[in-house]
């Protein structure tokens, strides 16, 4: 069976992108040491680690959601998608890299190398403190010579049973490890299937995908967005937050899949993919854009309408300090796909899908940026060289990893039981 080889051009560009990312990384680290005063130092620290968190979360989420979409198709017994299955598998292979980036942020936070997560600070959740010449130590009990901690934050202290480093490490290791392990199982069986079709193996994948949907569905609605993102604004809470974040990541995963398909077709690969497949992918992009807009609106409107201080400060922080970026992000992500992709022919037009894909991909990166930055940097964040450089670096690494996975197996799984259906897929 024909193996796919990565074109040199792609290898070269992913290297260049990674080099740019490396430069940005060095620049970011250097800025930590070159800051003039304490204020500038805090700024540099928050900026650098926010960037790692934004990109780690965004690209990890894309990889996880691609695996989710694969599981959805297995569980729903859909047929059309088989010829793009290997692409989804390849995107999923980025999960371990994204997870490493996220865990670096988490561990660094635990060692107080940054203060993205306010709740990691003993100074906010301890009732008492002892001041000595060496510094301040915090206690939950009134020990000898202790005074009441003036920075004590009752709300954060109330959340410490959930928001504490050991618990977060345990649950995130279990969740992310579980997803990566499930991806491995799908992948192994998928590659085995290339050697010959066997009913049992296919149905094992179907069963596993049902398990994955549960193992993915619960945490992506809850712990994953809450821990990594929502806990930055420690006081704030929103029950819809999980689904909102998930919808944006899912859309981004679909966009990556579309861009990969269009690119592979343009270099003469993936002959089995026809206009109907492209059309269906375009529909997904269109539909999930609406899903995301719907969830954005639901969350925003209810908080705006009720206007209670516990909640509304979250949007004030975004709208007051970043009006253009925030509303721009929403209108681009909502209006652009609605206008550009409503028409049937546009969903089959590869040029249009590429342009919209790139715009929306950037739009949803900005969405994640807006989820993080106002919480970590207040009104002082901006998209500068560091942000762009690190994002480019992640794109390079992402492209490098997924093309390498693609090259490890034939581009189409010929023995999949729905392969024939997929090849003969035709819609109008």
């Amino acid at each position: 069976m024909e193996q796919f080889t990565i074109p040199n051009k792609v290898k070269r560009w992913s290297m260049i992108f990674m080099a740019i990312g490396g430069l940005a990384l060095i620049m970011g680290i250097a800025s930590l040491f070159m800051a003039g005063d304490e204020h500038a130092h805090h700024h540099a620290v928050a900026r650098f680690w926010s960037n790692l968190l934004i990109n780690g979360f965004f690209f990890f989420g894309i990889a996880a959601c691609a695996t989710f979409f694969m599981a959805v198709n297995y569980a729903a017994e859909s047929g059309w998608w088989v010829v793009i299955k290997r692409i989804l598998e390849a995107i999923g292979s980025f999960m371990p890299y994204g997870a490493v980036a996220l865990f670096i942020v988490l561990i660094a936070g635990a060692f107080h190398m940054h203060h993205l997560y306010h709740w990691m600070d003993a100074s906010v959740y301890s009732d008492f403190m002892v001041k000595t010449a060496e510094g301040i130590t915090y206690y939950s009990e009134p020990v000898e010579g202790a005074i009441v901690n003036p920075d004590f934050d009752e709300i954060i202290a109330g959340k410490i049973a959930y928001l504490n480093v050991p618990f977060m490490i345990i649950r995130q290791l279990l969740i992310m490890g579980g997803w990566i392990y499930m991806w491995k199982r799908f992948r192994t069986r998928s590659l085995e299937e290339d050697l010959g079709f066997e009913r049992g193996r296919h149905f094992k994948n179907v069963r596993d995908s049902a398990i994955f949907l549960v193992a993915f569905g619960y945490p992506i609605s809850t712990f994953v967005p809450w821990d990594w993102i929502m806990s930055i604004d420690t006081h704030w809470f929103s029950t819809l937050f999980g689904w909102y974040v998930f919808s944006g990541l899912w859309l981004s995963a679909m966009i990556v899949a579309i861009l990969m398909v269009v690119w592979l077709k343009s270099i003469g690969e993936l002959k089995e993919v026809n206009d109907s497949h492209i059309h269906d992918l375009g529909k997904w992009m269109f539909a999930i854009s609406f899903l995301w807009s719907y969830l954005f609106f639901s969350q925003f409107m209810l908080i705006w309408y009720a206007n209670i201080p516990e909640e509304v400060t979250y949007f004030q922080a975004r709208i007051n300090a970043y009006p253009l970026l925030y509303w721009g992000m929403f209108f681009v992500n909502f209006i652009f796909p609605m206008i550009a992709l409503m028409d049937r022919d546009k969903k089959r037009n590869r040029m249009m899908l590429t342009i919209m894909g790139i715009i929306l991909f950037c739009g949803h990166w900005v969405d994640v940026y807006m989820l993080v930055t106002p919480g970590t940097m207040k009104q002082h964040g901006y998209i500068g060289l560091l942000e762009v450089g690190m994002a480019i670096g992640f794109v390079g690494l992402f492209a490098f990893v997924i093309t390498r996975t693609l090259a490890k197996a034939p581009l189409v799984p010929k023995n999949h039981p729905f392969f024939d259906e997929s090849v003969h897929h035709e819609i109008h």
Binding site: G217, S221, T239, L240, K283, L302, I308, I427
Partner: protein, 457 residues
């Protein structure tokens, strides 16, 4: 060329031909009703009359005859309203969303599901109507120019958005249902021998002749309506949820409400479709078309939406603790352990726990268990609305206001009565309408019919 994998289950069982499909589907319309139908119909009529009596009593005496009090000023009325609207979601979901997803199994169930939707939305609309007290002024919910100075509806109120959302949804669902019926009415018209049925069905069939051009238009319109109806499925229950979520009442104001209500609506709607179709397939002998595979597919939708609802329950519960807001925390503590703990337990068991057994394939395919679970879900989803509404109200910010809600015979009568009216309409439908989309069903006979599949492989 269309291909179908050999591992797909057949959707039409038995040795059916095109003609046999027509015969099977038209039989209940053309033949005489059996005894069972008359028994069911009589019971439904009696219950409906009791309900109508209670409604008239309410209109005559005012809503003081309900169990409402100053603290719990919303109870069964809005519970029943939300319950019926929720049930009304499955039909359009099946006809629109499953059409967009090209799910062939929808063809055997979409007709009845849509009929159910129409009747359920009618039952739902009844409640805000009678809750107004002066039902003859019901048209005031519409923003009509009037002679009373600037007397307008409150555009800021989600209750008004409900009026728009539900009336739009009802109109689109009705049109969708009717368009689908046209070719099948024509089939009945062509087969009718007596003059009166023939003339009625020929009016209903809009002069359909089955030309290729008509089918092209038919498919185009279906697709356009599906595209319009899909956002409507989302909008209706989102807006219903906003009746609560735009307020600042603990337990009501939470951002997850819109998508969680939509998931719950689809969940309860599918449960009702399941309840009805398991009966219908037996009573009018359509087991070859509404197969175990269909029931299994609906069960899968039930377990997925049930799990989404479950996530939402647990998210609310957790975030209430996490928020650190004491009112929020108390609202949920009171729900789970207060005097209405039994309603909360009912909701949790019926909606979250019992559907989980559908993860076992054998259970999903069992018709008896599917029927039982579907009843559980119907009950559980009623209790969900009751829990949301009554437990959030009965203990408000002033403890001296705290009280309980006790329904009167009128509350109960109206609720049971709407179930009776619903069944009267549905039973009449089952005798006069083609309960399956028979002409559409023929389009999948050669790809998904049991006999044709056997020939191929």
């Amino acid at each position: 060329m269309h291909k179908e994998s050999e591992i797909r289950y057949p959707l039409i069982i038995g040795d059916k031909t095109y003609h046999q499909i027509t015969e099977d589907v038209c039989a209940p319309v053309e033949g005489r009703a059996n005894k069972l139908w008359y028994v069911c119909f009589t019971i439904a009529v009696v219950v409906a009359l009791w309900g109508l009596g209670c409604i008239m009593y309410t209109v005559g005496r005012g809503i003081g005859v309900w169990g409402l009090n100053t603290t719990v000023m919303w109870a069964w009325d809005i519970t029943n309203f939300v319950w019926w609207v929720g049930i009304g979601h499955a039909g359009t979901l099946i006809s629109a969303v499953l059409l967009l997803f090209r799910q062939k199994w929808r063809m055997a169930i979409n007709r009845s599901a849509e009929a159910m939707t129409i009747f359920a939305v009618m039952m739902a609309a009844l409640f805000p109507g009678i809750h107004m007290g002066r039902i003859w002024m019901a048209y005031w919910v519409l923003p009509l120019p009037n002679q009373y100075g600037s007397l307008w509806v409150n555009f800021n109120s989600p209750l008004l958005w409900d009026v728009f959302a539900i009336s739009t949804y009802f109109s689109v669902s009705l049109v969708f249902w009717y368009i689908g019926l046209i070719p099948d009415f024509a089939t009945i018209r062509d087969r009718a021998t007596r003059i009166i049925p023939k003339s009625i069905y020929s009016i209903l069939a809009f002069g359909w002749s089955g030309k290729a051009k008509q089918w092209i238009r038919f498919e185009e319109v279906s697709l356009v309506l599906a595209g319009l109806a899909t956002p409507l499925v989302f909008s209706v229950h989102s807006i219903v949820s906003m009746d609560f979520a735009t307020s600042v009442v603990p337990g009501w104001h939470t951002t997850i409400f819109p998508p969680y209500f939509v998931a719950g609506a689809i969940f309860s709607g599918f449960a009702m479709v399941q309840t009805l179709l398991i009966i219908v397939r037996k009573v009018v002998s359509l087991e070859s078309y509404i197969t175990r595979k269909h029931i299994e597919s609906m069960n899968i939708v039930i377990v997925i939406t049930g799990s989404m609802v479950g996530i939402a329950y647990l998210t609310e519960l957790f975030i209430a603790w996490y928020s650190g807001v004491e009112f929020e925390q108390y609202a949920f503590l009171n729900r789970a352990t207060g005097p209405y703990w039994w309603a909360y337990a009912m909701m949790m068991t019926c909606n979250v726990v019992t559907p989980l057994i559908y993860f076992v394939e054998k259970v999903r395919k069992s018709i008896v268990i599917s029927f039982i679970i579907s009843i559980f879900v119907n009950i559980g989803m009623w209790f969900e609305r009751f829990v949301i509404i009554v437990t959030s109200l009965h203990r408000d910010h002033i403890p001296s206001n705290w009280t309980m809600f006790h329904p009167t015979f009128v509350d109960i009568g109206i609720f049971i009565g709407t179930i009776g009216i619903f069944f009267v309409l549905f039973l009449l439908y089952a005798r006069t309408f083609p309960v399956l989309a028979l002409n559409e069903l023929k389009s999948i006979l050669k790809s998904s019919g049991d006999n044709y599949k056997k020939q191929q492989h």
